[in-house]
Symmetry: C2
Subunit: 221 residues, 2 copies
């Protein structure tokens, strides 16, 4: 089906061009943006809530949530104190740059320092669509199993940081952290990882410190 | 982008025609087939292992596993005693009927009673591609959270049965079974559900009984 292939390639390169425009637009307003990706239920929204709670005194935070059908996640981020925008993807399995641009129009970027973009819960498709954010973060969770880097290499390969959520459940499940880390190391050598529990807040501080460091570093450029 | 839309529609209807052919082929060989779908890490492969252990004395079982990159799951099913075939989707986020047909060519259908098809771990895309199996089953897991029916309605709407795995973790997580069930009931009224733990085997028996009932019912037709 060469016709389909060329159409898909055109869509991807158009997406990349728009992603570059989005990054330019963010930089004009000095907004540091992160694309948060994960499997359904890994804890994206809860990590965003915790992050907003820790950083809302330091930075003005916006959140764009891509979801297939509801606004539950944006509601939670707004309740935690962020400017929050919901994008319903209408069944699409990922955010793309067009959708993000539509979401950005609903935010006042001049009033933001940090933008958290919550992608659709999916370990496959979001990896193929650049959004123009400055960093990509994958949130894994221990109940998903230690084999996930081996099975979803595209996602693990492309991210700048890896959160390992739900470490409070380790005593109750089979999860070999060494096997998990070996899989990650093959795909993404040296990637920074944050084992933590959004529930107990154990391990949250290094994650928050990494965000603060990156935002400050971005501003100094 | 009307061009893209019409290409996608053509692909879907071609997929449906091929799914009908696959069901015809399965029926010629009297093989009852199930499409197992879930989020990454919900426990598809572990449920398949448990199912093979319980049913291998009663039925001849085959397993086709769709995975992006590895053969870890097919290896586990083969170790548990099934004829197992691995389909690497090469990055695709779902199985489609073409891929399943290719997998079926590697199995001797005359030597099978039950075929378990393990789809790619994804709560979005697999819902759009019929495979020609007789039943579709969704495996949810409690650590994913009780909001998943609300957020992934397409997947919850289309299945014939719902397994709720990892009930052994309920004491350690926030999961409101009533809220979860209400979401399911709106989308898929009366769908049969199997709360169970593949780890402790608690609740496995009703699931096995349902499979046995369906296989016997299929044979009597």
């Amino acid at each position: 089906m060469p016709e389909r292939v060329s159409v898909v390639e055109n869509i991807l390169s158009a997406n990349d061009r728009l992603a570059d425009e989005i990054q330019h637009q963010l930089n004009e307003s000095h907004v540091f943006a992160i694309n948060l990706m994960a499997s359904p239920g890994a804890g994206k929204t809860t990590l965003i809530e915790r992050t907003i709670e820790h950083l809302s005194g330091l930075f003005r935070i916006g959140m764009i949530n891509g979801d297939i059908a509801t606004s539950l996640d944006a509601d939670r981020a707004a309740a935690a104190g962020a400017q929050a925008v919901q994008i319903n993807t209408g069944g699409e399995c990922h955010l793309d740059a067009v959708m993000l641009q539509q979401g950005l129009r609903k935010l006042d970027l001049t009033q933001l320092d940090l933008l958290l973009v919550e992608n659709v819960g999916n370990l496959v498709c979001p990896a193929s669509f650049r959004l123009g954010t400055h960093k990509s973060v994958l949130i894994a969770s221990t109940p998903e199993g230690d084999d996930k880097p081996y099975k979803y290499p595209g996602m693990y390969r492309g991210v700048d940081a890896l959160v390992i959520n739900k470490i409070d459940l380790l005593p109750y499940i089979s999860f070999d952290m060494d096997r998990f880390r070996q899989g990650v190391e093959i795909l993404n050598p040296g990637v920074i990882t944050f084992p933590l529990s959004c529930r107990t807040q154990d391990g949250i501080t290094p994650w928050i410190d990494w965000l603060v460091f990156n935002i400050q570093n971005y501003r100094e450029k």
